[in-house]
């Protein structure tokens, strides 16, 4: 038996929502970052499932590219977090509200 793509999609949706809620509720920059990774993984999962269901290898190619971009994003993002921390000695996102209008 083969699991229908819909179930994968449902799982991915659940992961995505959990990531999004974590993103909105937590204030630790690092945890928020991890939530972003969660959401990215959820999307990747949908792409793989859809690719299989549609009988198309390009879904996996897209995931590959997302992985690369995510890696680059992590590198830069963590560097920024470290830089901010060295300046402000905090990892709380609420401390960083200088761009208030």
């Amino acid at each position: 038996m083969i699991v229908s793509a819909g179930y994968y999609m449902a799982l991915a949706a659940a992961l995505f929502v959990i990531g999004a809620l974590g993103m909105l509720l937590r204030r630790n920059v690092l945890v928020m970052f991890m939530c972003i990774e969660l959401m990215l993984n959820a999307v990747n999962l949908t792409l793989i499932s859809a690719g299989r269901a549609l009988n198309d290898l390009n879904g996996q190619v897209a995931v590959f590219f997302i992985l690369v971009v995510a890696a680059a994003e992590v590198v830069v993002g963590l560097a920024i977090i470290v830089a901010i921390f060295r300046r402000r000695s905090t990892a709380s996102i609420d401390e960083l509200s200088e761009l208030r209008g």
């Binding site: 819909g6 809620l21 509720l25 269901a53 590959f64 680059a72 709380s92």
Partner: protein, 173 residues
């Protein structure tokens, strides 16, 4: 049948890991939860014959990226300032409403049986989506070669950017 069991097992671990990421006070636990999720998703990739992507997921994500995360957590220190003061008292309320809407939406979709975003599942796994390295490489280096070059450039630039940020000598305020 095998895939069904695998799916249930891995879905449970993935969700548990995800919840841990969000709920854990200590960022180290969050990282561990994320690690669990990443491994589960990698298994799900394999279940769907995306071998190469699964390998990359384990090596790059679970390996390199998570190491980086843990390193930064250690560098910054386990900071629990998260709960010290809440500047957005209405935040939980609004998030709760949004979550409620999402749950309602999901329930509505499920109950209406309108579950067919993608065509009905095929009975056997088609060979065309067998994501071996060879199979992935062909579209990657023919149709998407330009995008591939662009990602190479992106990685180089981000590496340079990270170095530049690390060298940044700002005054502490």
């Amino acid at each position: 049948m095998v895939e069904g069991i695998l799916f249930v097992l891995m879905a449970v671990t993935a969700l548990a890991g995800a919840v841990t990421v969000v709920v854990a006070r200590n960022p180290v636990y969050s990282a561990m939860g994320l690690l669990g999720t990443l491994f589960s998703v990698a298994v799900l990739y394999v279940a769907q014959l995306a071998h190469f992507v699964a390998a990359v997921q384990v090596i790059v994500y679970a390996g390199a990226v998570m190491t980086l995360f843990l390193f930064v957590i250690m560098f910054i220190g386990v900071d629990t300032s998260d709960d010290r003061d809440e500047r957005l008292p209405m935040q939980r309320f609004w998030v709760g409403i949004l979550a409620g809407v999402i749950v309602l939406l999901a329930a509505g979709i499920t109950l209406s049986g309108n579950f067919d975003w993608v065509p009905a599942a095929v009975e056997t796994i088609p060979e065309a989506t067998n994501g071996t390295i060879q199979a992935i490489a062909e579209p990657l280096f023919t149709d998407w070669v330009l995008a591939f070059e662009a990602t190479a450039l992106l990685l180089t630039i981000s590496a340079a950017g990270a170095i530049a940020l690390a060298h940044f000598k700002g005054q502490r305020t």
